[in-house]
Symmetry: D2
Subunit: 441 residues, 4 copies
Amino acid sequence: MAEEYDFRVASLGDATIPSPIKMSPTHGNHLAGYVHDDERILYAIHVRPRDNAHTPSSAEMLEIAGPRGELFFDPSHTSVGIVSCGGLCPGINDVIRSSVRSLWYLYGVRRIIGIRNGYKGLLPENRFEHIPLDPEVVDDIQQVGGTILGTSRGGGERTAEIVDTIERLNLSILLTIGGDGTGKGAVAIAEELERRGDKVAVVGIPKTIDNDLSFIQRSFGFETAVARAGEAVSSAHSEAHSTVNGIGLVKLMGRESGFIAAHTALAVNEANFVLIPEVPFDLDGPNGLLVHLQRRLESANHAVIIVAEGAGQHLLKELGEEDASGNQVLADIGGYLKSNIQTYFDALGIEINLKYIDPSYMIRSATADASDAFYCSRLGSDAVHAAMAGKTKLLVGLVNDCYVYVPTRLAVAHRKHVDPEGSLWRDVLIATRQPEVMTNG
Amino acid sequence: MAEEYDFRVASLGDATIPSPIKMSPTHGNHLAGYVHDDERILYAIHVRPRDNAHTPSSAEMLEIAGPRGELFFDPSHTSVGIVSCGGLCPGINDVIRSSVRSLWYLYGVRRIIGIRNGYKGLLPENRFEHIPLDPEVVDDIQQVGGTILGTSRGGGERTAEIVDTIERLNLSILLTIGGDGTGKGAVAIAEELERRGDKVAVVGIPKTIDNDLSFIQRSFGFETAVARAGEAVSSAHSEAHSTVNGIGLVKLMGRESGFIAAHTALAVNEANFVLIPEVPFDLDGPNGLLVHLQRRLESANHAVIIVAEGAGQHLLKELGEEDASGNQVLADIGGYLKSNIQTYFDALGIEINLKYIDPSYMIRSATADASDAFYCSRLGSDAVHAAMAGKTKLLVGLVNDCYVYVPTRLAVAHRKHVDPEGSLWRDVLIATRQPEVMTNG
Amino acid sequence: MAEEYDFRVASLGDATIPSPIKMSPTHGNHLAGYVHDDERILYAIHVRPRDNAHTPSSAEMLEIAGPRGELFFDPSHTSVGIVSCGGLCPGINDVIRSSVRSLWYLYGVRRIIGIRNGYKGLLPENRFEHIPLDPEVVDDIQQVGGTILGTSRGGGERTAEIVDTIERLNLSILLTIGGDGTGKGAVAIAEELERRGDKVAVVGIPKTIDNDLSFIQRSFGFETAVARAGEAVSSAHSEAHSTVNGIGLVKLMGRESGFIAAHTALAVNEANFVLIPEVPFDLDGPNGLLVHLQRRLESANHAVIIVAEGAGQHLLKELGEEDASGNQVLADIGGYLKSNIQTYFDALGIEINLKYIDPSYMIRSATADASDAFYCSRLGSDAVHAAMAGKTKLLVGLVNDCYVYVPTRLAVAHRKHVDPEGSLWRDVLIATRQPEVMTNG
Amino acid sequence: MAEEYDFRVASLGDATIPSPIKMSPTHGNHLAGYVHDDERILYAIHVRPRDNAHTPSSAEMLEIAGPRGELFFDPSHTSVGIVSCGGLCPGINDVIRSSVRSLWYLYGVRRIIGIRNGYKGLLPENRFEHIPLDPEVVDDIQQVGGTILGTSRGGGERTAEIVDTIERLNLSILLTIGGDGTGKGAVAIAEELERRGDKVAVVGIPKTIDNDLSFIQRSFGFETAVARAGEAVSSAHSEAHSTVNGIGLVKLMGRESGFIAAHTALAVNEANFVLIPEVPFDLDGPNGLLVHLQRRLESANHAVIIVAEGAGQHLLKELGEEDASGNQVLADIGGYLKSNIQTYFDALGIEINLKYIDPSYMIRSATADASDAFYCSRLGSDAVHAAMAGKTKLLVGLVNDCYVYVPTRLAVAHRKHVDPEGSLWRDVLIATRQPEVMTNG
């Protein structure tokens, strides 16, 4: 437990305007109250007592989310822009809805605009019409998947132009719903705003269906994604189980982290092999996947394989399928596995029935399940609370099961990965009974 | 309404054994009773009164399904085999369950065996273990997709060997769950059994997820398939709606008939183009799909396309992708559309976001929805009633909303198609507002 | 098959205005076409060939639904009111949506108003604001249960006042979504309009969650209701199965007809007793329900009972719980059974665990499943087609699996009942294995 | 953060038998490894840095769950009993399945028995047949609600007799799935076993649909319960929204804690009033519920109320409906509210349409959603790991989002409550916009 992180949250200045939310200023009277800026939670909680205990400093603790008693912005003069970026994820509309309702009903903010189609909607050449948002507009939007604002990838790197637009729109607050790239863009935008002396709070609600943002226990939409993915795995299992040597192969999201694959395997418990980016595997050789798959068929007549889209990329690179422009474009491990498995058993003269399922778009466009709806509802409010208090360059998230504010730069600095030595992967190995190592050393 | 069909059902001989089911032999006493062999329903009911009315003969009417007062087989000496063939379809386990329960509880039949993996399980070289079936074995099987018996394609053409196995298993009844090919196989098997003087009833429960069997109003699993397909189309719509020039392309089942595509379009009402095998279309040219798609994007910014797997095969044949061995292998219209749409808009310099969804296996492996569960429950019983009464070479089905027995040879003689001049397709055109004709001819 | 019914549909006058829907006027060119007024289907199709065949006259056949080539109303001067009455039922919003879209897109009608809260919204004292309807207003309404128009019971008997309002609103068409009472009201309204010489088409889409309208094969929302009811029965079964002498008692809708109860029992196959209004039963005595229930517990340790709300009313009347004003108010059979079962086993010193589930409101407020969505979509269009062609005093419905127009007065003259001698009830008895007779008479 | 809790876990003795699970004994080699007994997590993580920091001792930290390298029991001589007690909750079968699979596949334990119907199954007079459990028996049980073992309330107080049975069954491990009362029973049983010198590990998996166990972040089944409850609230909303002055009243579980009510309100966001046991309210008076409800109807025409079953008990006690035997029997707040609301508006001459929904049994008997299935899967394994290592008198649970072992006595000492000053209730007030105080005091 070495001192590592500085979790202090940036601020636009002193918050001096009394909050219009009527809450109890004192504790102990059984009435809900404001959160104080110095309320924190510990981040590093996993210890071995015999270790030399390090007492964490205040900077190493996370600021607790929630409404503050004093605001930086005067609600009656506050303009808010909301933008959603990147791929779809269940719950975006829930977050938009909660943000709008919190701004409108709690703070009385009346100027809220939806930016169309991601950061691109803030670029000068894309004069998409902005959408005025109010509680009526967002009333039932959570019943529909996707995002009513539209989304797109990229655009965030054109910082100056975006800040020009923010100035022209006279925004006080920019709420960004997006992942890694969106967060990096948000930090750049916030810094450019600072440079220009613009008092604009840039607050993010982290969106990554892969659940791979550091310091965020669980990203919204993740549990829904696992639920929908589980249905695909059950389908694969039904298909595999109902034929001779049936193999169900399901490709799930997970470009760099195998959280969806791992959680799905434990939720459904019908997968025999789970392949994730964090754990390399060989296809061929005496300890490769194919031999183990063959053994599984011999003993049980069917098999189910979950593969995260980022798994086994080393196998594809060997084939020269690497992309010129770097790591953005992943080769298709699903198709690669499908054809290699077929070839392998064809060569052995063994008839197999391989069914390949790629449910990605059906997962991404799903509406949020109850637990994600609950989560989005709270994330949206907490993002608004932070922004109204003048906090900036932060993400709202759940850490150690508390809602906190995390400096954006920390969350996007590194990806979160499934720890091959941790309890999640251990329980996947236990549930699938797949070999811990499938390389030939 | 010309006289066309002979709906008379074949029989193994006189049914003389009193049924063990206690029912009322008379009508009018408010107690459920047996069905009599001469109870019929009219088949051709669509008329224009000014036409010269043709009075249908008894042979042109359909025999009503249900328990008969007299049986051909003595339940205590009856052995039954159940086999499921072809691709998966929601409800197979429901049919198996209902058949077993009816045999066991109603008739007291105690020897029921499940044949493994389709007709192949009746071939000498495939000595799969047969599964003894009783109410306990089938208790909860409807909660799981697929078929507990396993399935496979083909094998039915080796009639003599199959009949050998049927003789060795000493079956009195063979219940087949399958489609077109299975039905043809069943007729051949029944005829070979006849030739050998074996008194075996061969009764089918029609299974075709495409709903393309003639004389069958609706095949089991079809409504579930439409429900699941609708979820895929909603996903495609959410994806399309959430991006700039989003196009959702969903490939659905439908090798020769577009019923799933048409029903799904009407159930979900979010598709802008529905492409089915029965209605040809061009891709290019002033009245081709691509131009109409472009227009749709210009006016609405997004579009959803449903394509049945058998649609537009003529386009693919032109490309030489035809298969040597004939019509079994369909070229992939989904991939073809995907790449051609992308190429078209790339050439125009228009950025599109195309998301392609193929939910087929997730649909096929679903469990049956309530209405299909209800239907399967009744189909299973009615198949058993027919077989116990010594009827053979027939399918159980719904015609004009009545449960009837249809001679198998009639049902498999021709595919049922969506009538381009009928009300279903008309309502699809109305709902999608797609051009009635998308050819340049 | 005696001549009984006159299915001829009333009309406001000659339809002479060419339809704006572009359809093919001829048959045989593979293009969807108009329906002609003399296209009919046979109603009575169940025959015993040896019977003296009666050749039905044209009046005994049902007019086929669909777009006509000529209209009575000029779309550019047509005003339409839509009203929903009575209890909730899955699919009302789907019907509203389909009607509005058909009027707007197909016929170009631009003045469509939603009447608030049933017939009461047409009464002078209830000056609810009417809702202007267009495709945007109804865009996603099918994703929400209930009715966006609101509904209420009654009001239809104040015919003159309603017609006053219709005149003041200058309506050409009144689309009514409702059941028995609504239909009777609609006929009275249409007759009063006729008397006054007002050319207003009154067309109904039948709504009865109980599926108890004569001449209507299946009312919309019914399949969804069965699906949701099935979930309640599964819950009851899980509860019953998980305790000692567990009894799951589920009360379902069905005031006068037991269709939901019967269908649910066959869809889920976990009920041991199904009690419906059409089949009387005793509670006590050697052949009463309680003795049979006790026997079931002795042999299987748990039991599931489905009771339709209108079942066993004779038992409650004996208790003097009858209502003064007649048959409208049903005594609560669910609570009655619950307490009597408990008392019976308490007296015997047998511990039971009875769980009573009444899912009615959760069923009524559900959104429509795919098959009902499909059905509603077509009913809405077909109602519009009829009204635009000047047809009136009719309901759209499915008969012998064809979409037809049924004179309203016929459909509301008698309730449709489960025939205790028919195949549906027979298959329920078979599935539940409950005694056919549970009276001591 | 005063020193309060002693989280040390009891043990039967030294664990010296090497685990048959092949795991990596060292860290840092990217291979999953055993958990060491001294790995801990901090419990109290919410701090205000200016407070006098208390450095928690080892006893105040929680032991991390997972497989140990050394076992107390020799798997080949280990007998395990599994018992489920109390009310149903989604996921019981998932826990049973995971426990059995872990015992069988990981440790090679072959003698696993299911105790029937709760603690009562261990009483001498209830000689229910025990169920031998193996992976095949539990294969698909998670697809069915309830518990395959059956359950009952009570019985646990007859400690000596239960221990007699445990001795006669020669159990090494007793896994208990139950709540508060079950936990107290388990501690008593474990202590009696200790007294007799029996080396039996008693390990619990906490089951409380109310989520009211202390030190347990979230009990299994809770998220599923919230999801199903949300459907009931949506139904209530559809009903309320579709009529004049519609009021939807939903009673949810929550005898002493309002977690389900609060979470559901945030997940669905359609409730206007949430009533929980922790926050008292008046019905009458100028600041009572009824006045606020009237105001809501005046402004919005409909209202939705969620009431936890334990809310407002003080109101019922005033009515003398208190139970002689103490707090076990709650008066029915749902029926009480229903009739009082009706009476109030009747007296005012305001027509309302109140629909009352009690979905409790449908929630309790549901199958587990994916996130609960995932959770149950891990709880089951972790319970087995603890027991095999000889740990006893503990519950497996999630604390600060880590899987840990909590001494049972601590978890059952006090209920967990919704903190009226905490962030959950604050966000409920924000979402519903209900008055923070609805008493007249």
